[in-house]
Subunit: 244 residues, 2 copies
């Protein structure tokens, strides 16, 4: 009997070309599909909730796939974990109704972006190092301007004229961690390609005084990616959670 399996995945994006399978290079999707191919001897397409770019990490990526072979969930989890690289760990597996799609059933996604104020060797692949002073209250004022349903076309890397670029942002806050790192938490029903990194890059420009906060509503209404700041580097970004 055909069953739909939902898995929750942690990965270190450092050595991947991204989530999505590509002709060249190691992808998270490709690695999991290869493991399933070795287990089932057939090609099993895996659908992910979000396509993370090269270098972007995930603590709670979600994916689903269908199997006819009906294996025990925990055996299957152990088999996949045994076959993928050590930079991928499947933490949870469950069978779900056939109608469930990791991508289309998701109602919200949460990302975090980590910034370190001091240079570090240990853990350097997990945060953006910024030595200059940042105005955190001002950055929170800027972040609050993103809340609500808006057109985020100015923060999308690849939107064509006909693409839907409406997103509803329900959380956008900057916080200081106990260890001195600064973290941006953002939650939305959906994210456009490169959206979090473009938002972080723009708010950092505001926080360091290179751009006035009044520029942000203008950038949003321009619907022009060139008006926003440079994308923040991928290695500070984590897909934390997908909500269904």
């Amino acid at each position: 009997m055909r069953k739909n399996y939902k898995i929750t995945i942690e990965y270190d994006g450092t050595d991947f070309v991204g989530w999505q399978r590509q002709a060249n290079g190691r992808s998270v999707q490709g690695e999991i599909e290869q493991a399933l191919q070795r287990i089932t001897s057939s090609y099993i397409p895996v659908t992910g909730a979000g396509r993370t770019d090269a270098g972007v990490h995930a603590r709670g990526q979600v994916a689903n796939f269908f199997l006819d072979t009906n294996p025990d969930e925990s055996d299957l989890l152990r088999s996949i974990n045994g076959l993928v690289g050590r930079d991928i760990v499947i933490h949870d597996i469950e069978t779900v109704p056939d109608s469930f799609s990791a991508r289309y059933s998701a109602t919200a996604r949460e990302y975090s972006y980590f910034i370190s104020p001091t240079p570090a060797a240990i853990g350097r692949q997990y945060s953006w190092q910024i030595g200059y002073r940042l105005d955190l209250p001002l950055m929170n004022d800027a972040a609050s301007m993103l809340i609500g349903a808006r057109d985020f076309r100015s923060f999308c890397r690849t939107a064509s004229a006909t693409d839907d670029t409406q997103c509803t942002v329900s959380r956008a806050t900057w916080e200081r961690e106990g260890d001195g790192r600064i973290v941006f938490h953002i939650r939305a029903n959906r994210f456009l390609h490169g959206m979090v990194r473009a938002i972080v890059g723009t708010i950092i420009d505001i926080g360091r005084g290179h751009m006035g906060i009044e520029a942000l509503p203008e950038i949003l209404s321009s619907l022009d990616r060139r008006q926003a700041g440079q994308a923040a580097p991928p290695h500070g970004l984590f897909l934390e959670r997908v909500i269904y």
Copy 2:
């Protein structure tokens, strides 16, 4: 005028053959010496406080070297950091009396060893993953047996018959961190080759019930490395601090 420079170094040991310069492979010492050679156009030997093995990390390794060129300390720090790989960061530099030796002037060293109870992709290069249950109070009882001045020959990988293998351990404790990791903190006036990893491997054998705690004094008095447990893997180990 010749000056003696003391530097404090953080490094991610993952991609190094260890602290010590070797004929083949990237070493931390070699990388810093190469940077100094490019800055001064001459070979400047660098002395480290402790020789960490391949894969072992450091947050507070200390080294010293002599220069005739008398550069400004903070310029020199920036130059070295600009020339070494991103997995090395010099955090501090100061001029010290000529008599100072990072190795021989040190009065104590502190190491930490991190253990994760759950498999992780992110940060997997910074702790040993152990899925089985560990008896932490028992492991602390075992650790307390190491305190004091003793012969640690049973925990040394390479001691010859004539080597001095006496060490004075002033701290040895296991603690649980807020994030669920378990950390072993050990401080001694000196450490033998492979000593922390052999101690950790042995106490883990006790903590998981594979060895009785009464075996520990017997191992110590045997003066035989084969009596102790297997060395814990290098990637959980951090040289935290050197005290002068």
